[in-house]
């Protein structure tokens, strides 16, 4: 269980939060093709490297925020409310 820094509640066990996955921009639903939409739905880079991901502080302040996390080492840097 890693420690995730919430901008309000400070560092918390990841079990107190929900990982919402890699940050993926949402295409304009009225203009996007089905292929583009499904890339948004399903395709993730999933690198063994730094990713920007969203977390939700479900057990605390209920803020969504992003962090940068190295998926290979679980090192965390940069954190901001989304």
């Amino acid at each position: 269980m890693i420690v995730v820094p919430c901008p309000n509640c400070g560092p918390r066990n990841s079990g107190d939060l929900r990982n919402c996955g890699e940050l993926v921009p949402r295409p304009d639903p009225s203009a996007a093709s089905l292929i583009e939409w499904r890339e948004y739905l399903y395709m993730r880079k999933n690198p063994a490297d730094w990713v920007t991901e969203t977390w939700y502080c479900r057990g605390g302040c209920r803020r969504y925020f992003t962090i940068e996390r190295n998926t290979a080492t679980n090192e965390i840097r940069g954190q901001e409310a989304s």
């Binding site: 420690v3 400070g10 639903p29 479900r58």
Partner: protein, 950 residues
């Protein structure tokens, strides 16, 4: 014959407290402070059990937690480690892994057929013929090691968990560990000191008088220090990311085992060293033991380990064992100095060593062989932090290579030294650990919004200026000129390892998996280094080139009970649940909630709603209070239908889909005011819908002004349903005109109910009857509920439960998200038809909705009635092609309808079967096939809605 010595100066047994227990049915007496093994050894027993494969007789080897020969059954608890488990009065201790008895064991015949049990024997012997596999399994189970699980009794009953957040966690309570704990605590850190055995002190406990006295002083200081919490009989079993550390605590007051989860700033790893056996023919004969075992038996428990001893020593600990043996009157017939190349070739004896052959050609009579041939550094916790230890040929053991900044090692695992040197290194490590941990604590406080100005300065970073401990040269003593056991718990010999190498399993990781060496209960603590040495010899390369296997968690076994621990699963109860309990409601666990399933007869309850009036507690319904000028935009986005033109005082039904177009939730939402709405959603989806709304408002639409408040528990929801519901409410609602014209279907009003103001009443019809849902502030809910029952007595008003509601809604054909839809059901499947508006600029899942409505192959939800009205197909019964078994759908809901007197169903079917009047075949669970007919509507009762629109 008793082997108990006269009082020894360092003994930890209390001779004034005798403990009676049984060993294989015979009465034995030990003392308080004994381990199970020491008490049994003191009574004169040599043979404790039989080995796993060859069923060879086995005795004490290490006399500690890692002893592979001391697994016993205690009462109904299997696999107890007699080398470390403290003796308790009344224990019923027996041998494991023998059949039929310890003295006469049929499995010992395996020794004669040993060639069939060599490396990889499972793969070689039991592969063919395939049809014999079940027989092989049956026979092998008979010979499988391990104790007996008693299915009838729970071994322990209670387990517990605990969470701790020490600045510094010290693993190991020897001189270095205690030094580290004291120095870290003196420097302001909170310290958790964890010791595997029953007392602090480590090897000082069985040392000389000065060592014992010094150890006792350090232990007393640790126990007295305000900043140190001491855990004994507890093992650090794993280290995970961000210093998340698991500890198994035994012998706790409130639970025999407790799993502690620690988040430590810095972990100091100070496990000391584990003594390594020497490999020679007969090295597993009872009477062959390690120097540490000899010294512990004599000094801690005053047990005489034998009468005539041969000692092979490569280090000071072996020399000290010679001194201990002589002091207690054991005749030491030879001391072999391994530093000069003297060694043992083999021993003879079955139940006990009788003869010893030396490499100078002599054969000596002896009943005790003591070896002190070196150390295994238990680097497990360092491995778990990413370290890959490196072999040092001069010191003949492994040392850590690189550690992350939140892990520090000290003590024997890092080098050799006197007690003072070990303690000094520990203290220097403790100072460094406190510095790093306090800097981390400062960062943590500074990152927390409400306290981001810690009241103290961040300490300056301290450099690691510790003077390393020396690495004292040690001979590489691994194997004699004969073959013997490398892995005692798995019965793997050096011969097996060499054979495995010849067969091509010549890397340490492959050899481990092929031969199972290091995979037994000792988990490599005794075997790893010898296995690597034998492999290096077979491959004719150096130890450094062989490398090591990776040590993974757990460091010591954890019982499943401790992992499961105390289960914290809170149950939500509505404000009316006590009333339901008191009035005979059958409890139904539904998600987080306990609800009334029925009050005796659900069919009668449903009937009463159709004919009179009933009340149901629907509090678990998710409720969200939405306020702000942009609520309608939010509703437009999250529901598939239109919301912008909903007038104040009206409610509307809406369905939600996820971004992939799959139906995710539904419910009604009412507009209470210009900027005030109340949304309801399914009980199970309440949390997810709330999080989803917050996600949109925080992430994609931060400019929208909407405030979301969850009021599920704050408002108790009572559905008043049935033809008399209006009459009933008119008696207790004061300020709302309930007439059909003034309060039409799908409207909402706020008013006073039974004297309780601020109630929300909306008129909807999940049951298909005229009905009102009353949302009451929960503090007044019981009053309103009881008043409704009292005022409605002459109308036949009675409570109904979830089962009756399910019957009623199925009669009415209302589907339930998650019951009649599943994880693949897109909007067309649910039959939403005209509800879905595809011309909106944005709604969740819009492109998928558009795509779904262009498909013609999606299953369709339909009403179904079996042709035989008495047959109620099971929910999830398959709908199959009449001739073959091709699956064409499934029954999603089914009940006997009290209103119609026949069975009614909802089903998902292939579009080819969706037309009204289609005949379908339902495959029942008992294999019968019955015919059924697709209905025109989902609703079986009143499809026109005449009953609810009165």
């Amino acid at each position: 014959m008793s082997n108990r010595l006269t009082a020894q100066p360092g003994e930890i047994i209390d001779r004034s407290t005798s403990l009676s227990f049984t060993w294989n049915g015979k009465a034995v007496t030990g003392y308080q402070g004994d381990t199970i093994a020491s008490a049994i050894a003191a009574s004169g027993v040599d043979v404790f059990g039989r080995s796993m494969k060859y069923h060879r007789k086995r005795g004490i080897l290490t006399a500690d937690h890692w002893d592979p020969n001391l697994f016993v059954q205690v009462g109904d608890e299997p696999n107890v480690r007699a080398g470390s488990r403290r003796l308790e009065a009344g224990m019923e201790v027996s041998t494991q892994n023998v059949w039929p008895s310890l003295e006469f064991d049929l499995g010992a015949a395996n020794q004669l057929v040993g060639r069939f049990l060599s490396s990889g024997f499972y793969y070689k012997t039991f592969m063919r013929p395939k049809f014999l596999w079940p027989l092989y399994q049956k026979v092998l189970k008979k010979f499988a090691p391990g104790g007996r699980i008693h299915w009838e009794t729970s071994t322990h009953g209670a387990y517990d968990k605990r969470y701790v957040h020490p600045d510094v966690l010290v693993a190991g309570g020897g001189p270095a560990g205690m030094g580290a704990a004291l120095a870290a605590a003196d420097n302001g850190a909170s310290v958790l000191l964890v010791e595997q055995y029953g007392d602090l002190g480590g090897h000082l406990l069985w040392g000389n008088e000065d060592q014992r006295a010094h150890g006792a002083d350090l232990a007393a200081s640790c126990r007295a220090h305000d900043n140190i919490e001491v855990l004994v009989d507890s093992t650090v079993t794993g280290r995970y990311d961000h210093n998340w550390i698991s500890i198994m605590q035994r012998s706790h007051d409130i639970a025999p085992e407790r799993l502690i989860k620690a988040r430590a700033g810095v972990m100091v790893v100070a496990p000391g060293l584990v003594e390594r056996p020497y490999v020679f023919a007969g090295n597993d004969t009872p009477g062959v033991m390690l120097s540490g075992a000899t010294r512990r038996l004599i000094n801690l428990w005053a047990v005489k380990p034998g009468n005539r001893a041969v000692v092979m020593s490569a280090n000071a600990d072996g020399d000290a064992a010679v001194g201990d043996l002589k002091r207690v009157g054991v005749e030491v017939v030879a001391v072999l100095d391994a530093r000069k190349g003297e060694s043992i070739v083999c021993v003879a004896g079955k139940s006990r060593v009788s003869k010893v052959v030396l490499n100078d050609g002599r054969t000596l009579n002896a009943d005790l062989v003591v070896t002190a041939t070196g150390w295994t550094a238990p680097t497990s916790l360092l491995n778990m932090a990413g370290d890959r230890p490196v072999y040092d040929a001069t010191a003949a053991r492994y040392f850590s290579n690189s550690l992350p900044s939140n892990i520090l090692a000290t003590g024997g695992i890092t080098g050799d030294g006197s007690t003072a040197e070990l303690e000094a290194h520990g203290r220097a490590t403790g100072v460094l650990a406190a510095n790093r941990a306090l800097r981390r604590r400062h960062d943590r406080v500074a990152q927390t919004a409400r306290s981001n100005d810690p009241a103290w300065d961040k300490p300056a970073e301290m450099a690691d200026s510790r003077t390393p401990l020396n690495r004292v040269p040690h001979p590489e003593c691994y194997r004699s000129t004969t073959h013997g056991m490398v892995d005692f718990s798995e019965d793997v010999s050096s011969k097996d390892l060499i054979q495995a190498s010849k067969e091509g399993f010549d890397s340490i990781e492959l050899m481990k998996r092929y031969t199972t060496v290091t995979m037994g209960p000792s988990q490599g603590k005794l075997e790893t280094v010898n296995a690597a040495a034998v492999l290096a010899e077979a491959n004719q390369v150096s130890m450094a080139e062989i490398g090591t296997t990776v040590w993974r968690p757990p460091f010591a076994p954890i019982t499943l009970g401790a992992l499961a621990g105390r289960i914290h699963e809170p149950v939500r109860r509505s404000a009316l649940q006590d009333w339901h309990d008191a009035h005979g409601a059958a409890p139904l666990l539904a998600g987080q909630w306990v609800r009334p399933d029925h009050y005796g007869d659900p069919m009668e309850e449903a009937d009463n709603v159709r004919n009179n009036v009933g009340l149901i507690d629907v509090t678990p319904l998710g409720k969200l209070d939405l306020r702000g000028p942009d609520v309608s935009k939010l509703l437009e986005l999250v529901y598939v239908n239109k919301w912008s033109k909903l007038d104040i005082g009206r409610v509307r039904y809406g369905t939600m889909v996820a971004e992939d177009g799959v139906v995710s939730d539904d419910g009604v939402t009412g507009r209470l005011g210009e900027y005030h709405w109340l949304m309801t959603c399914t009980s199970s989806g309440a949390g997810a819908v709330w999080e989803m709304l917050e996600d949109w408002l925080q992430t994609y639409r931060p400019e929208w002004q909407v405030h979301v408040t969850a009021v599920t528990g704050g408002l108790t929801s009572i559905n008043v349903a049935g033809p008399h519901s209006r009459t009933l409410l008119e008696r207790i609602v004061e300020d709302v005109d309930l007439s059909a014209d003034a309060f039409p279907y799908f409207s909402v009003r706020q008013g006073t109910v039974a004297g309780v103001s601020d109630c929300i009443i909306w008129r909807i019809g999940f049951t298909g009857e005229l009905s009102y849902e009353v949302h009451v502030p929960s503090g007044h809910a019981l009053h309103v509920w009881e008043e409704l029952l009292a005022q409605g007595e002459d109308l036949g008003c009675r409570p109904f439960g979830v089962e009756a509601q399910r019957i009623l809604r199925l009669e009415k054909g209302h589907y339930i998200v998650g019951q009649d839809t599943d994880g693949l059901s897109k909007a067309p499947t649910a039959g939403l038809g005209g509800l879905v508006k595809l011309d909106k600029p944005d709604t969740i899942g819009l492109p998928e909705l558009k795509a779904a409505y262009e498909r013609t192959d999606l299953p369709i939800l339909v009403g179904v009635q079996t042709d035989d009205p008495e047959i109620v197909p099971e929910e999830a019964a398959q709908i199959v092609d009449g001739g073959s078994n091709t699956i064409l759908g499934r029954i999603t809901s089914s009940r006997m309808s009290p209103t119609l007197g026949r069975s009614v169903c909802l089903a998902q079917v292939d579009p080819s079967l969706a037309a009204a009047g289609s005949s379908i075949t339902v495959l029942l669970a008992d294999g019968r096939r019955v015919t059924a007919t697709v209905q025109e509507h989902h609703a079986h009762v009143d499809p026109e809605g005449a009953r609810q629109r009165v």
